[in-house]
Amino acid sequence: MSVYVPVLAVYLGLLAFIGYRLRARSRDASDFAIGGRSVGPWVTALSFVAAYYSSVVIIGGGAFGWMYGLSTLWIGASNVLLGTTLAWIVLGWRIRRFTGRLGVMTLPGFFSERYASPPARIFSAAVTGLFLIIYNVSVLKGMANSFEVLMGMPYWGGVLVSGLVILFYTAVGGYLAVVLTSFVQALVMIGALLLLTFAALQKAGGLAAVAQRLSEAGPGLVDTPGAWGWAGLVSFAFIVSLGVWGMPQLVIRFYSIKSHKMLRLGLVVVTLGASVALLPYLTGAISRVLVPTLDSPDQAIPALTKLVLNDWGGAFFLAGVVAAGMSTFAGVLIIISSSLVRDVWVQGLGRTLTPAAEVKANRWMSLAVGVVSLLVALKPPALILVLTAFSWAVIASTNLWPLLFGLYWRRTSPRATLWSMILGAAAALVWQAASRLGALPEAWRGVHGFMIGVGIALVVIVAGTWLGRPAPREKIARAWGDEEAA
């Protein structure tokens, strides 16, 4: 306990200092929301990793590893290949070019300008704002639980300590503070995961010994799909990998990168950094061998940490978990505030703000949204990872296809886009609710609402585009650039 306090105090103090130092760098909304499109490859890549992997992934991923064994490594592998490498290749530079040409700073803003569809902007902003707050609550809960288990700090104390530091550096420093702190946080998180994995493997006698002891405990713990089954494993792998393609707090990283050359270097850096996605699942499986009896699977990683690391190692690991949560929370916070100010207030309600006034509005909005998240997190809902996946399903079902088709298919119909958003989000919601209420047939229960939501959204946008009309010619020409549109 005594070691934890100075380690975390230094760490949190450093993050607050970064935010304070960058307070003068946000001169207009573009600076506050996307760092003036001037962020380099290392910071972009590692801040993507930090925003992607929250404390929910570390604690919840470990819980899945503990419950279902080594087959959950496939979730981490799909995070790397589909959620990171392919996302950067397919979306990266195209998003940077399109949003630069259209002069937009948010995902709802892209829909509005690309499709000439203000309703698409409003719907996307509303869904994104609401469900990202739910997601942020689960992220805060994950951080506070880690403080609770590893430090003995009361739950509410963990929420307040982590939440208030994030609010400070996000509101004061804007996007640049978020990505720079995320860069530091990614390094801490990667170091912490590597430390825990090596210590756990050493304690367990190596990977082969872990596999041997897991197969003795139950063959489903080493086989694929193992105890989880194909439907559950594939659904979950898709939601946390393909879902990324429609998550605003992650695709925003592409808006802000400085140049094509930097995106190329960033692709290699991000793939290497993202490879740590395997580790929470691997350490979770190892914890099944070393700590086979737990009150709740969510305790797998904290219990393993206490078993295999000394106080300094435990303090460093806690910093890593907190880092993962803080970077995700901050990334989401800035997305919600910039979306509400730019897409709802300025564009939606037609208010005119000076650059300085818009920065100020963003600061107050990020504070307000952060405080709401903090208050909700003090009386939190139950299952961390389920909630995360629930909110991801709805947000991704809303945004994924309109973004992808908006970048690659000129003909994509604005009306089909709006209906794809509405029906995709509704299908994901209804399916998840029915699943929770036990109203689905046995064979379908393992299928996540994300698969249904994106499936219906895909059919609607493709069929609607074949039947409907494309966006106005000038919008398409502007999005694609003169040379391509000619």
Partner: protein, 50 residues
Amino acid sequence: MGPFDIPWPTFAAFLVVLLAIVLALAYAAWDRAREARDEGGRGANEGGDR
């Protein structure tokens, strides 16, 4: 049975991560060569647009 006494269908998850790293390197190299060929050194990026 694959390496470390892990069944191949499970061990393949590690290989997929390796594949992602190789893909990133190969794509970056291909993209760099394509840019050099297409742009002839006139500088393709649009870093200034906002």
